[in-house]
């Protein structure tokens, strides 16, 4: 039972820098995930453009038939979004935890080049623990 299907991280120009699948049917190949990322980036921007009032920071939650998509955008423009089962709780706080893991294990890694794809072993290790723990919390309920 995968509450979380997949996680994407996009840099501020819409390039996909991280994609992890946690068990959706038919894993997306790389160009598809790249296209999804850049499409989401433009949709997110357009949604701000169409806001009936000022101060809109773009889509935070998209509800679809078979999944919810929670998106967090940092003030520096980096977007973290997770695809999960409809109605999954605590996705905002999980995204916040992932954002902090990004500031620790990616931005503090001297071998990570800004805006480039993330290949940091420590980020992967800590991320899978965070997602695992979150899933346990959900299952535990």
């Amino acid at each position: 039972m995968a509450a979380i299907y997949s996680l994407y991280i996009i840099n501020k120009s819409g390039g996909l820098i991280f994609y992890k699948d946690y068990g959706s049917a038919g894993r997306m190949d790389t160009n598809d995930s790249l296209r999804v990322a850049s499409l989401w980036h433009s949709m997110h921007a357009i949604s701000q453009q169409l806001s009936p009032t000022t101060g809109c920071s773009g889509i935070e939650l998209l509800e679809a038939d078979t999944f919810d998509l929670h998106c967090f955008q940092s003030l520096t423009g980096t977007k973290f979004f997770v695809v999960c089962e409809p109605g999954t709780q605590h996705m905002e706080s999980l995204l916040k935890v992932i954002y902090e893991l990004y500031t620790d294990y990616v931005l503090k890694n001297p071998f990570y080049e800004m805006e480039m794809p993330i290949r940091c072993e420590l980020f992967d290790i800590n991320l899978s623990q965070a997602v695992q723990k979150d899933r346990v919390a959900m299952l535990g309920r």
Binding site: S42, I46, E92, E100, T103, M114
Partner: protein, 257 residues
């Protein structure tokens, strides 16, 4: 079994106490507060986990007080002290000595003091563009649009959160695009005296770079210069931050798209 909240474990830190069922008791108490959502409970528990006395108090609080404190407590920008108390810290000497070694390395590599100043500023910029995300994540700052507000937050919260020192913001100019940040303390400079071969060196130039880099990432182009530097005989460390341009992210799609 309910996963224990690490912070609760640490705060209670009594080995035999089964934190999990204590957590359930706390949770049941919270369900009596109508209007407190699941996320609200989660945040409330995490917040309480940092204050042992608050937990004790919580059980004795009448319900409407609980509601007022738990729900109404806005999760606004957290104070520098609160964050500093909660982050992992290291002895300042390690930081100071490492910085000293860095400057020494630059002095040997570049010889010219002016080059070292530039390199330090660039290194600071490289740190700033990365550090800003941690600052935003930990300080719950939701908007960085107004330069005045941002400068205040960076000085008050940022310097405290990272360097454990307090900084004040003053002498704003008329239109609020230029101010000074004065550091009451500066961990970079313990045990440092500049030999006269280093005349003209801005030893702490990394700090100006950090501020410039951090602000640029929230679309504020600035110029940061030293006004006063104790190592050069002044009575305090004072940086001037001048807003050059606020770069609004333009709408990425031209009309014909």
């Amino acid at each position: 079994m309910v996963p224990k909240i690490d912070k609760l474990v640490n705060v209670l830190s009594t080995a035999d106490k089964d934190v999990a069922n204590f957590q359930v008791k706390l949770y049941d108490e919270m369900t009596t507060i109508e209007g407190l959502t699941e996320d609200g409970m989660y945040d409330a528990t995490t917040m309480m986990a940092t204050k042992l006395d608050l937990i004790r108090e919580f059980f004795t609080m009448p319900n409407h007080h609980r509601k007022r404190d738990l729900i109404m407590a806005p999760v606004g920008p957290r104070s520098g002290d609160a964050i500093f108390a909660n982050v992992e810290r290291v002895n300042a000497e390690l930081f100071t000595l490492t910085y000293g070694a860095t400057v020494r390395q630059l002095l040997t590599d570049l010889e010219e003091v002016e080059e070292v100043n530039k390199q330090l500023d660039q290194m600071g910029y490289n740190i700033g563009i990365r550090l800003i995300d941690e600052f935003l994540a930990k300080s719950n700052v939701t908007r960085c649009v107004d330069f005045r507000e941002t400068a205040e937050v960076i000085a008050k919260v940022g310097f405290k959160m990272f360097l454990g020192v307090t900084a004040t913001v003053s002498n704003w100019d008329a239109d609020g695009t230029c101010c000074s940040i004065i550091l009451e303390d500066n961990p970079l400079v313990d045990f440092v005296e500049l030999p006269d071969t280093c005349r003209g060196l801005y030893y702490c130039n990394i700090l100006s770079g950090v501020i410039r880099g951090a602000l640029e990432m929230v679309s504020m182009k600035t110029e940061v210069t030293w006004i006063r530097d104790v190592l050069r005989g002044d009575d305090a460390y004072e940086l001037q931050v001048k807003l050059l341009k606020q770069v609004p992210e333009e709408y990425p799609y031209k009309d014909d798209e």
